[in-house]
């Protein structure tokens, strides 16, 4: 088992934001986390990284996260945030090297192993020649590649990405999802929260659909992104088209006023 999550509750400022929910990931997958704003997607992702307190049990490779130190959790889960900001004018190599922090002692220069991991990650993301370039000089898509390389250098089994496609143009969004698929073929499990239904339905192996702090559906895209569930969860009507053997879901209108 790569990941098993069984939460009984997550509260924030006295308000319950996650209700009892559970799911498991037993093989490397691209898992899309979908749901309206405020459904609890980010809270679930933050719980999985132990960034917020939770009631319940989260296990990675059968190890309970609550019994582990932050550094060993960081060797199991990497995090790719929505914003692609790096403070200070650091070059790309140094940005990717930041992913090695959980593997490094408090003092001292990076080891040969660290340098190898960084170079491998940059090569795998197609940014091997970007080392000397200042991160700020890159385009949005290039920045995304460097930051994914950073999570890759962390050498974790699981990568959590919180709305990483936000602010990218469609070409780069598709490219990013393709990179995530590549990560799955490398043996990683990628949990990605998305708002884009076509992107999720065309790329993800599995969808966790969230509504009001609960999992409304946990299934492959063709079963989770149905007319009925989309009406229930998002209040929208959809159209489905077949594209290269996959069902791509396109939102076509709001049905908030209809009797659901």
């Amino acid at each position: 088992m790569i990941l098993s999550c069984s939460l009984s509750s997550v509260t924030f400022q006295g308000k319950q934001i996650l209700k009892p929910l559970s799911f498991e990931v037993s093989e490397p997958q691209l898992v899309g986390l979908l749901g309206p704003n405020g459904a609890g997607k980010t809270s679930l992702l933050r719980s999985l990284m132990s960034l917020i307190p939770y009631e319940g049990t989260i296990r990675i490779r059968e190890e309970d996260l609550k019994t582990q130190k932050a550094k060993s959790i960081a060797r199991a889960i990497a995090y790719l945030p929505q914003d692609r900001k790096v403070h200070w004018a650091i070059n790309c190599y140094a940005v990717v090297m930041l992913g090695r922090i959980p593997h490094q002692p408090r003092f001292g220069n990076p080891s040969q192993q660290d340098h190898e991991a960084v170079k491998t990650a940059m090569r795998q993301m197609g940014v091997a020649d970007f080392g000397h370039r200042p991160f700020e000089s890159l385009s949005g898509g290039e920045k995304a590649r460097i930051l994914i390389a950073r999570t890759l250098a962390q050498e974790t089994d699981i990568i959590i990405a919180d709305e990483p496609a936000a602010g990218l143009d469609p070409a780069h969004q598709i490219e990013m999802m393709a990179l995530f698929k590549d990560l799955v073929t490398m043996g990683k499990t990628v949990l990605v929260s998305l708002h884009d239904l076509p992107l999720a339905s065309s790329s993800c192996d599995r969808i966790l659909l969230m509504k009001e702090g609960e999992i409304a559906a946990d299934a492959p895209p063709c079963e989770a992104l149905t007319d009925q569930l989309m009406k229930k969860v998002f209040g929208i009507s959809i159209r489905t088209i077949n594209e290269e053997g996959r069902q791509v879901v396109i939102p076509v209108g709001s049905c908030k006023n209809s009797s659901l």
Partner: protein, 337 residues
């Protein structure tokens, strides 16, 4: 692919700055109203022909040079750490209200006469002032240390400490005490003894050690608060080390030398591009650079107006203010960060 890491570049820089600080230290020992061979320090006081010069070296110039070295180092280091913690190039201990509050603590000790009871009273009072400042800062800015709020809180603390200091000056009946307070606040290494060194050194070392532990975490913070935590960084611990390390180190520095501004701002700034902007690489070079800067400023004080007891704070502020304004303009043009 060639290795674009900066470790290789920052080590020679650190080495150069260390050599430079040693040379300036020796120059600081020799330079004064009369030139004295610094090697006399090793000659001892046996020879009556050089006894006077030996005593000047030991009692006056050595403490002065040591204080410039260690205080410059702690100011440079704490500036680099605070800039990394707050992810803001304008942060420095002085702007956070720590120095002003430490000064207020020292001024209270001078005003109440507490300072005359024990040589420990003044630095201890300054330390308490610095500690209160960081607690208030922490309280006002919150656990996530929002950059804008932290700086605004620091400005408020500086203003408050400044106003209270002025109030004490107003209330002071003794004109000599007023003069003593005013001169003390401008910062100086003149007339400091080895006792001042022994008083401040442990605090500066403890503060410096605490700050030195933050390097890796500050690197992680370049990716933001949440990513740093996901990389295994205990943010609260880093915050406590940074803030208390600064308070202890800068509080002790202010306690023996008065408020010396802008070192913590200028030094990390000048050195940042040379180490690839990585906070962890910036810490040691900023400490060495701070020492170089203050040793130079202290020699400058003696060169520009010899015998006039020009205050060190005046020199650093005269260099620092135009630099600060230039930096603001650069930030506005988004040329930095």
């Amino acid at each position: 692919m060639t290795d674009p890491s900066f470790e290789k570049r920052s080590l020679p820089l650190l080495f150069m700055l260390c050599i430079l600080s040693v040379l300036l230290f020796i120059l600081s020992l020799g330079w004064g109203q009369v030139w004295i061979n610094p090697l006399l320090l090793f000659a001892g006081s046996e020879d009556p022909a050089v006894k006077g010069e030996y005593l000047i070296l030991l009692e006056i110039r050595l403490p002065r040079a040591i204080l410039a070295l260690i205080i410059g180092a702690i100011l440079g280091l704490s500036g680099a750490v605070l800039q990394g913690l707050l992810r803001n190039p304008l942060a420095e201990p002085g702007l956070l209200g720590v120095s002003a509050s430490a000064s207020l603590g020292a001024v209270i000790a001078l005003y109440t006469g507490l300072a005359s009871f024990s040589i420990l009273a003044l630095p201890f009072s300054a330390l308490v002032g610095a500690a209160i400042a960081v607690f208030l800062l922490h309280l006002l800015a919150g656990s996530r240390a929002d950059i804008l709020v932290t700086i605004l809180a620091g400005v408020a603390l500086t203003t408050l400490a400044g106003a209270l200091t002025t109030l004490i000056l107003n209330l002071s009946k003794n004109p000599f005490a007023v003069l003593e307070i005013v001169f003390w606040m401008m910062g100086s290494f003149a007339d400091r003894s080895l006792q001042h060194v022994w008083l401040s050194l442990p605090f500066i070392l403890i503060g410096g050690l605490m700050l030195a532990f933050t390097g890796r975490a500050l690197d992680a913070l370049s990716l933001g608060h949440d990513v740093a935590r996901s990389l295994g960084v205990n943010f609260r611990r880093v915050q406590l080390l940074s803030i208390f390390g600064t308070a202890i180190g800068v509080g002790a520095a202010t306690a023996v030398a008065g408020a010396i501004g802008f070192v913590g701002l200028i030094v990390p700034h000048l050195l940042r591009p040379l180490v690839g902007s990585r906070p962890s690489q910036l810490l040691p070079v900023s400490a060495a650079g701070g020492a170089v800067f203050l040793l130079m400023a202290d020699i400058g004080v003696r060169v520009i107006l010899p015998g006039k007891d020009l205050k060190l704070g005046v020199i650093t502020a005269l260099i620092g203010t135009p630099f600060f304004l230039w930096l603001l303009i650069k930030v506005r043009r988004k040329e930095v960060l």
